[in-house]
């Protein structure tokens, strides 16, 4: 067992659980933040993407014991950070279908725009490696470009 203190969406949390518990399940089962999704458990699909100390990580690969002092943002906290614009575009452009992957997509897109404020197609393709089974990729790409103010 490990007792670990870290920040989630600006709020200090202490979680006492098995040290190898992935952040994904810490968020979902221990903190009730179910916006972060389980998709594959092996860092393939990106549905569990959150921000750790400002950068996108796949939370299924981050064990609780490594989280001491970390500053985390999840989809529930994205609007308060800088996600409002992306979230509004996701609605306006009717991006999600089933929506299950979209929390991870938004967290990844937000970090992409932080690193590349005017991303090229290749940069978007390389960075947005999350899986969407419904096939919303063209809309995600279009929404990212509109958010960045680059031509569609």
């Amino acid at each position: 067992m490990a007792k670990v203190r870290f920040k989630v969406n600006g709020k200090l949390q202490t979680v006492d659980a098995d040290g190898d518990t992935p952040l994904l399940w810490v968020l979902r089962d221990h903190l009730g933040l179910t916006g972060t999704k389980y998709g594959c458990g092996i860092a393939q699909c990106g549905a569990c993407t959150v921000h750790m100390n400002g950068a996108a990580v796949r939370s299924c690969q981050v064990p609780l014991e490594s989280l001491g002092g970390a500053d985390l943002t999840t989809i529930e906290g994205l609007a308060a950070k800088d996600g409002g614009k992306l979230q509004a575009l996701w609605f306006e452009m009717n991006v999600p279908q089933c929506g299950y992957c979209q929390a991870g997509m938004l967290m990844a897109a937000s970090d992409l725009l932080r690193q590349h404020p005017k991303p090229s197609d290749d940069q978007i393709d390389a960075f947005m490696s999350n899986i969407c089974r419904c096939g919303t990729y063209p809309r995600i790409k279009a929404a990212i470009k509109r958010a960045a103010g680059v031509p569609a």
């Binding site: 529930e76 996701w90 009717n94």
Partner: protein, 753 residues
Amino acid sequence: MSAGSIDRRGFLVTTAVVGGGMALGLSAQAAVQGAQSVPWGPDAAFGAEFSPWIEIAPDDVITVRVPTPECGNGAMSQAAMNVAEELDCDWSKLRVAFASYARDFAEKGVYNTGFLSFFSGHSTSKLRLQKTLQLGASARERLKMAAAARWGVPASEITTRNSVLTHSPTGRKLRYGEVAAEAAKAGLLAEPELKPQGQWTLLGKKSPPKLNIPDITHGSAVYGIDVKLPGMVHAALMQCPVHGGKLKRHDPAKVLKMPGVRAVVVIDPANTAGAKGKTASTFGFADSLCQSGVAVIADHYWQAHKALAALPVEWDFGAGAQWQDAEAIYTAARARRDLGRGQVIRKLGDVGAATGKRLVEGDYATPYGENAALEPLNATALITADSAEVWAPTQDMSQAFWVTVDETGLPPDKVTLHQTFIGGAYGRRGQGDDVRMAVAVARQFPGKPVKVIWSREETFRQGRYRTPVVTKMHAVLDDATGLPQAVSGDVGYAGSRALFQMPLGFSDMPWFNNGVIPNVRLTSSAVPVNVLNGAFRGPCYNSHAFVVESFIDECSQVAGIDPLAYRLKLLAGWDKSWSDCLRSAAKGIGWGKALPRGEGLGIAISCWPVANARNSGTVVACAARVSVSKAGDIKVVQLDTAFDCGRIANADAVRAQIEGATLFGMSLCLGEELTIKEGMIAETNFDQYPIARMADCPQVNVHFDALSGHERLEIIGEAAVGPVQPAIGNAISAATGKRLRQTPFRKADLRWD
């Protein structure tokens, strides 16, 4: 409320607190957010009920309760849009909620309309559309009656707009919410006439985004896996990895002391209690039979998952272990097919009488495939001695409800089912095997809600897969025209279940039915195997479209006629919209332009669900531009799709479905294949089963100019999965000269120099 059941208000409060401020029946918040959807139907009532479908609150928030769940196709929002068309209400204050199947049962079918009432789609089918429009019109007239009574004027002097009633002669106004309570009690002497389609102002005119998107983008939409209940425990499940096998031995003592572990339970199909009376499930129970397995129940999912991995388990694999690999199954299917004893499913003229000199022959195949919804299978169940309550991301509430009745043996009035949002389905969540397994686990841990989660690996291993198809096609071309004078086609299915051996997209193609090919003989056979197959977005159609349209392309090549022109000849006497679709897609892709070596164009057409009737189904033509590198890597550069579903209710929702289904089909034919090793599915995660990603995405263009305007508003979720696959295959043939007769294409050697 039965003993042991959750106190509902307790549940709502808990969820609201933990879930971060969902508007659970709080009308003020709902009004602000405009789009809240809560998964417990009529219990969230907060206004005046006009019908089981419609509730109007004092603050003008209108709730539409929808029996068809939301799996991404916009079915719920569409139902609300239908109601709003006649109700003349303020769209920004409209919310949707899930109808309750328990209520439908208690009130004898109040939500039951048309084909597959509780299945996730079909929201614009004729009966459903008419019913939802009528509900809106009826509520509107009752609001008018209530306002007329208040003002003491004839209802005919009152107009409605944007949730406001106006007395035209005096200009007096009332909001819907102000008279809702009285209006809900008013009775109409006769149901009002519906507007003619030409006067619609919302349907076909506007494209509002899905109502649940704000919940999705803020992480507050509740999918099945997100359900939270007081006292809930978590279970990790493992069913016999060879379908039909049985648990032989396990050693719970090895894991019972691990942190958080509460119990290890065995799931035995012999313990299915069986429904005691008549049932009304949508699909019957044959595709949701209980599977032998074992589950670990723990405080948290990760603890259960770890303990299950550590649990020593031995299986009796049974007859399924005979299949060394998938190829053995396909070989058996071909052998059965080639016995020549298949059932004749289409016969026209006499194929033996054809005399042309040019023959075309091909043996095609598509493999097992996994639906791979991104939300792994799961359901939550609370079972007591005399009640069952289930929360599930089911694609069909009726099915999930009756499966629960069947597994527990409880009377239906003791069973409650709560619909949640669905993290993808594509047919996988219709039969209710997931719900049955969750109930079977929870029955052994009574009095506590048990959330049962299939790991991704378990979801892969316990699929109800795309039915594999092996099809031999043979044509004799007419010496003069080059069109087929005779076509023989023999399809062989590998599959456990006859329900998923569908001929759609094969024997119903117009040219096999309308005499343009005078001699046709198509047969169907199947080899039963233990590997469970099921519904997969456009079941079997998703394979047949590839076979038929690759074969027609081969015929055009042998005839020496341009593939587009060839199809236009075949369709010359058929609905013009088919040709329009082909022309539109061809125009979009730049058909006929010269391309460098290694690049090619391909085209194909198909229709779901019914192709051999006039003005029927959704016709989709797809044109593909593909480049193949010297190393043999395939890049789909552009896809142009044109379609005809008659008319459309929400253009952007339709566009989204066509885009998504096109990319779904592209992913399927490029990379997706399940193989088998000693009776078990070998691929168990996305690293082994490649699904198309952003970098695989071509330019996708969807064209609306082939829409016929016919009065049907046909379903559009499946059709586009079909033609994209042969379009890409045909383009590869054009680019490389190599004809690929089986998918996935990325497993073929396409190197050139």
